[in-house]
Amino acid sequence: MSRQTQKPVLSASGIVAGYRPDLPILHGVEVAVKAGEVATIIGPNGAGKSTLIKAVAGLVAISAGTVLLDDREITGQPAHQLARLGAGFVPQTGNVFASLTIQENLVLGGIGLNRAEALARIKEIYQRYPMLGEKRHDKAATLSGGQRQILAVARVLIMRPRLILLDEPTAGLSPMAAAELFQLVRALAADGAAILMVEQNARAALKISDTGFVLAEGQNRLSGPAADLLADAKVGQIFLGQRTKAKKAAKKAGQKPVKKAAKKAARKTSKKGAKG
């Protein structure tokens, strides 16, 4: 297949990043996605999955490593430039402007374009997602969870991104809405975009992915074709089987998911010290 020889749209290597420069959460992570591919980052809680996707999106400071978007270095670019350069990021929460109408949300999505071009693309979006067109003058706050995700993705699509970053797109969605969203993700890849997402729902996400990256303690553990990872007994045992447990732990731990990882790191004396 030509995909084998194709250059990746996104290739990040040696990423060291964190919310504080003295406390890196990622210790040299690699990730690459090709056009038309869906890649999913999975891993236990506190592995640095969201940090990685945010670092690529320019929201978390990268202290070492490079991020390339189609051979162009975008490491440390301000987030608002990235949208114009062709990388669209859909955050996990607060990913639509609730107080603005659907149309206004989409207008902001196209703010990097000239007015006429932006309006033409918004029209295309309405054709593709008629639900958004019907509700264009409603406030985004009136949408359901699944509809909000569609709007959030649509807003990113206006810039026709070559890379789409999704941070836990199915979080808080009903199983049916989650399945619909995965279908939408597949459709976006079929249109040629490279998609990198972080998912708690690891098994379902891997099923619709081409490749998977397993992260643990801020480092790459495993990576490869998603089907292989799904079949891998070790992955199944460590990450997929413990999904519900991890979720509970996440709720409990709240904003301090690195605590456990830090303890583990401390035990392995050679590790880079405490992280939480």
Binding site: L100, L108, G112
Partner: protein
Amino acid sequence: MFMQHLADGILSGAIVALGAIGLSFTMKILRFANFSHSELLTWGGYLALIFLAFAGSFADLSASNIGPFSFGWPMLFAMLGSALATSLLAVLLHYLVFRRLARTAGHMTLVFASFGIALLLRHLVLLFWGHDPIYYSNELQFAILIPGGARVMPDQVFLLGLTILVVVFLHLFLTRSRTGIAMRGVAENPELARITGVNVDWIIIWVWVIGASGAAISGVLYGLTVQLRPELGFSLILPLFAAAILGGAGSLYGAVLGGLIVGLSENLSVMVIPSTFKPAVPFLLILVILYFRPDGMFGERK
């Protein structure tokens, strides 16, 4: 008497409303209470003097009056010039003080810095223009009797008309222009706005320009209908905050309605309480509103 107080209330409410719009926007988008905002009203009023003098070197000021008003096109030119100059002042303060502090310090630091700036600005006005009241024009105006028995000056009618015009313009700006929509987006979620591709730093400049322009126009209108004094802004600080808080930070209509309520309640209160207590009315309003609606009338619940 009631009609007179009503008319006075609406007029002083319009001045407060214009000033409160900017305060409300900066409070919402820059996320701190800017106590130096009221000094921008003072500066707006005084800076207009410079532009008026400039226009006066080209035309006879008293001969160019329009209709029944005490002023002509030089005053309109001065108002525009003052709005631009006051915006420049606000943007300068943003770069020199607020932007730097916002990066490293907390919100309270910004609030205290704004106190300092307010003091500085107020005393610079004293230094440059002295403490005596100044009038744009010494011409006498005849009041017009409006139905209901109240008397208003033609300039006051202009004040009201201009306020309505500014509010309509801002409404269109916020709902039709992409910069206006982006401003509302930044107000709701700055990080998402940034991700979406909005240049948030640029939007913040716009917030200052709109806030300062509103303040300048408000200050000029105050100077036109009352007088220019160095403590013009300082005396309005409570009404301005009351209006912005009443309306809910970030809401255009909230600030306008808040301004009207403050103006009306101040002026109508003199019918029941001694007028020396008038300045306490905004205080009471803040207390009452915060008790029932902590986020203001139009503010979103958090």
